[in-house]
């Protein structure tokens, strides 16, 4: 059961990565179409110090750890 769930998450991620790396992709969102994505409200880590603090508050009190919001992501738009 646990292993199955792990596989369900892991293999699609690896597959997507391999698929993406195996071919030349024409960017389907052009640089001039990224105005919305470039808006600071679209950043996953707008406030890194605050995010790190909340991550810390949670990891102290929860059994789970890792892959948290402080590891965020961005928009690829700068």
């Amino acid at each position: 059961m646990i292993d199955l769930r792990r596989q369900v998450l892991l293999w699609p991620a690896i597959g997507a990565l391999l698929a993406l790396s195996g071919c030349a992709v024409e960017p389907w969102v052009k640089p001039y179409e990224r105005a919305h994505l470039a808006d600071p409200i679209m950043s996953f880590t707008r406030d890194p110090v605050s995010a790190a603090y909340m991550n810390h508050v949670r990891e102290v009190r929860e059994g789970a750890r890792g892959a948290g919001s402080a590891h965020g992501g961005g928009c690829g738009c700068n």
Binding site: L20, V25, L37, A52, Y53, M54, E59, E62, R65
Partner: protein, 397 residues
């Protein structure tokens, strides 16, 4: 009032072990901007953040500042430093039950370096955490790379930590922990309004993972209250996997919604699910409001029990409520005001921010011994609310 020799110096109960264990490795990621934090091959912005934080819940108060400064050197190097302080005052349920309240301080300092070369960023971090009975050091290295017209960023990172564990009032006590952390990240622009990020993280620990102060209880017909205490015993290794997916969507008007899910599993048989949902709404006059909800639920460690049937009932024993089955719900609100600097001036912009989160913890197999019914093992389940407040200023220059 000190209840039992094994818990005399108490500390650790809510804060310690986990503060150090989890925090030090992950703290490095605060400074490692580009690792999993995708900003199409540019260095992180130059900024200064000064934050005051306060946590108040379950008899525990933790306050302190955090200061981060980031400065660019030349065109391809960014340097950052962070100072963080936790000032702890604890009269938690564990402390009330088995020991005496305590105060403590933990300081953490980090240094980070990001080097940009074309579409790749190399990041290094060094973090140090100090308490009077625990020291932790970690180093981290990470690489991120933009691909496919900057629609995709992949990243990976590796962290190494080393902890020295002491015990108050026992100078002869000296243990250590080695920690390893592996991270993979993929951030993908999906449409002109939608971006998603996948993250994978494996952590592996080896060494003294116990809390040297904490105890488990077991049925003892000879004791006046019907139970007694003995020291916890944890396995000396732990490996965990976590995977998360998060997405953010720009609405037809200037606002965004975000959602996330994290799956977690480890060799102690704890597994957990985390869900997040939020909405961000900026206003034209510089104000911004964010509202969010988070749901967390976990299953207990295989060797956890609120009440063991007898002393030394099994080889590993834990009654740490963070290892029990429980859920928490968090409602949060952030209000920010941003000021734009004059064109050509040194100040690009600055913001002042106020964040409040209310957390409700409900434990399903951790009992509140202060509410004893007279029947051992039939005490009410423990639950509490916590208030988390942050006030911070961010200056971009």
């Amino acid at each position: 009032m000190r209840a039992a020799p094994t818990v005399v110096a108490v500390a650790a109960i809510d804060h310690r072990m986990r503060v150090r264990t989890a925090a030090v490795l992950t703290a490095g990621t605060l400074l490692m901007g580009p690792v999993g934090v995708l900003h199409a091959a540019v260095l992180p912005e130059e900024r200064l953040d000064l934050l005051y934080h306060s946590y108040d819940g379950g008899g525990v108060e933790v306050t302190g500042p955090s200061l981060m400064v980031r400065k660019q050197i030349g065109q391809s190097l960014s340097v950052s430093g962070n100072y963080y302080l936790d000032s702890v005052s604890s009269a938690s349920i564990d402390v009330v039950t088995t020991a005496s309240p305590y105060t403590d301080e933990r300081t953490e300092t980090s240094l980070g370096l990001d080097y940009l070369h074309q579409k790749s960023t190399l990041s290094l971090s060094l973090t140090r955490s100090d308490e009077n009975d625990y020291e932790a050091t970690s180093v981290g290295v990470g690489v991120s790379q933009d691909l496919f017209g900057d629609l995709t960023t992949i990243s990976f990172g590796f962290g190494l930590g080393s902890d020295d564990v002491g015990r108050r009032g026992d100078p002869a006590f000296s243990e250590s922990v080695d920690r390893y952390q592996y991270r993979l990240g993929l951030t993908q622009v999906l449409t002109t309004r939608l971006v998603a990020t996948l993250a994978w993280e494996t952590q592996s620990d080896e060494g003294y993972l116990n809390n040297p102060y904490r105890s488990v209880r077991y049925i003892d017909p000879g004791a006046p209250v019907g139970y007694s205490w003995q020291a916890e015993v944890y396995p000396s290794t732990r490996t965990s996997d976590a995977a998360s997916i998060r997405a953010k969507y720009f609405l037809p008007y200037r606002a965004a919604v975000f959602a996330g899910y994290r799956w977690y599993d480890d060799t102690w048989e704890i597994n957990a699910d985390t869900y997040e949902l939020g909405y961000i709404h900026p206003f034209d006059n510089g104000w911004l409001v964010e509202a969010r909800y988070r749901r967390y639920a976990q299953r207990a460690a295989e060797f956890y029990s609120d009440l063991f049937p007898f002393a030394d009932a099994q080889n590993f024993l834990a009654r740490d409520k963070e290892l029990s089955s429980f859920s928490s719900d968090t409602l949060g609100l952030t209000v920010s005001y941003e000021y734009s600097g004059a064109p050509g001036g040194w100040l690009d912009r600055a913001s002042i921010n106020f964040a409040y989160d209310r957390v409700r913890f409900e434990y399903s197999d951790f009992r509140d011994l202060t509410g004893s019914t007279g029947v051992v093992g039939a005490e009410p389940s423990y639950a509490f609310d916590a208030d988390v407040v942050q006030v911070y200023v961010s200056v971009f220059y």
